[in-house]
Symmetry: C2
Subunit: 335 residues, 2 copies
């Protein structure tokens, strides 16, 4: 076992895009677990669009990552030493352990996982926060009904791929919006979406008219900006717009672009609603069970984009997200 | 009885603010009522912010007023001749009879009113569309619960005055946003609002922090623009934003300003929802009964702004609305 713990800490609050100098690469000694604690070695680190928001010093659903603190991240660790009755060496555990090679935990917010059922990365994706987000966003916030027309933006991402496939499994017509022909081809060819719109190459509003001719019942928005505005022009009566994220706006140094077409909410008697997945923690088991069953039945295909490297590769991997270079759930797997 | 029927017709589609030359002032002979019809002389004409939207040639909840057509307007007419079994000369009738001195109707969408219970103008205000809008917007769309904190913009207008007073009657803390010290003084001094914010003179965001210290549970928006954005920064958890209108944006020749702060819907697990009052037509009687009772009990004070003149004064009266020159329900009473 190594005695150094390489970590990525927040060095400066980024303005606009996160720059290399906003991070500090540091090596600390690996801590020993105290009474009731365990220590583990990081196997896989999650990269999430929400991370950008955690870097800004403003009130949100979680406090910002403090300057000098280890970057917050979900990850899977393998326990190497333990004074905790529930966690033994060799156990794989998912939790918010941060961007570092080793983490100490008292078990709060940590959950043992079975890597014989699914790879560790999947507990950060389809069976982790992105899967939970897709499930509760679509079914609870979006109040999806079987057979409706669903449009998902950021459709080739971690949340979008799952949201679209859950909707397909419920007999919905599903249209994905993503960037580039490769992602779009994957959505229709591999994941069974009814249509895909390449927002970089197509007029989204026009394409929605074609692919959602009766209007959109549920619009699951991961991107905000112009794509949100286009979707608002195509809402069906009593539509639900699920505000899951706004990745197109997270790196803005200028104010967020608000949806100019929000008055279509009035014309279409529609609602736009936000949510934070943590509020559904008590029901994660329900969602994980359904998603597992759908994976088992081949009705959800798990898309993961694995970067293999060290914690020092975290900053570059995070940039991939905002450049849309990942397909499916992006993770950093430590060698 | 006069034999000419002066009318205001739409001559051109306005760009930005409505200009005098967008209207045609015309005199037609008064029509005779056909079988099953009645004719009446206009007593009071309603002026509504929504009228601006009806002038634009784009899909909305009602078709646009056609070029050359009599301007659509709610009004109260007094029946002068009738071939309809339910309407007799002398009856006062409310309906969408247009901006003209005489109107012929077959009774569809028309309702006899009792001007001994309330003046004709009140059937266009507190007991008409604005009252219905306030009632269903607040209670159904806003899902108002007793004791919550409610913020109303356009608070001194036809809808705002009623919405705020309904909320007060339900034990809510009510903050009104309006333009100018006179309106604000009226809200707190006369209508019993807990606080009023003058958006022309105050920093609305700061004032909301002071007057809604625990956050806004229901924000009833009549104005859009910067005021909406300010309110979004002060939402309580699970807040409801009722999109009733956006008078600050109706005269824009440029695109509507979307709410930059819409992502607070996510952080606060809140929703923004639009509605059109016509959808509640089957329940108007319920609302009218409750509002009447509140008026009777002195818990709703009816504010009306009466312009006395002829149909030719309609264009100028409509401008008053967009300049915020009215207090309460603006009507044009024909001499």
């Amino acid at each position: 076992m190594s005695t150094t713990n390489r970590q990525i800490r927040l060095a400066a609050r980024p303005v606009g895009e996160v720059k290399p100098e906003d991070w500090e690469h540091r090596a600390e000694p690996v801590e020993e677990p105290g009474p009731g604690q365990f220590v583990g070695r990081t196997r896989v680190i999650s990269l999430d669009p929400a991370m950008r928001g955690w870097l800004d010093d403003r009130p949100s659903y979680l406090p910002p990552v403090g300057l000098g603190e280890v970057m917050r991240a979900g990850s899977v660790i393998e326990v190497t030493a333990s004074n905790h009755p529930d966690f033994r060496p060799g156990d794989h555990v998912v939790g918010t352990f941060g961007v570092q090679e080793y983490a100490v935990s008292d078990g709060r917010g940590a959950m043992k996982i079975d890597t014989s059922l699914a790879p560790a990365s999947t507990y950060l994706g389809a069976l982790g926060m992105p899967g939970m987000t897709a499930y509760f966003g679509l079914l609870d916030v979006g109040a999806l009904r079987d057979g409706e027309t669903v449009v998902v933006s950021g459709a080739a991402g971690a949340v979008g791929t799952i949201a679209g496939q859950i909707a397909k499994a419920r007999g919905c017509r599903v249209v994905g919006i993503a960037g580039g022909p490769e992602k779009c081809g994957m959505l229709t060819g591999e994941l069974g979406f009814d249509a895909a719109i390449d927002y970089r190459a197509e007029d989204v509003r026009k394409a929605l008219r074609e692919h959602a001719p009766d209007g959109i019942d549920v619009y699951f928005d991961n991107v905000g900006g112009d794509v949100l505005d286009a979707a608002l022009t195509r809402l069906a009566m009593h539509a639900r717009v699920v505000v899951c994220g706004a990745i197109s706006q997270y790196n803005n140094a200028t104010p967020v672009k608000g949806p100019s077409n929000y008055l279509s909410l009035l014309v279409r008697r529609a609602r736009m609603e936000g949510f934070v997945v943590f509020d559904y923690a008590k029901r994660y088991a329900e969602a994980a069970q359904e998603i597992s069953a759908l994976i088992g039945a081949g009705r959800i295909k798990v898309k993961e984009h694995v970067v293999r490297g060290t914690v020092d590769d975290f900053p570059a991997a995070l940039q991939m997200l905002f450049r849309g270079e990942n397909v499916g759930k992006l993770v950093l797997e430590l060698a």
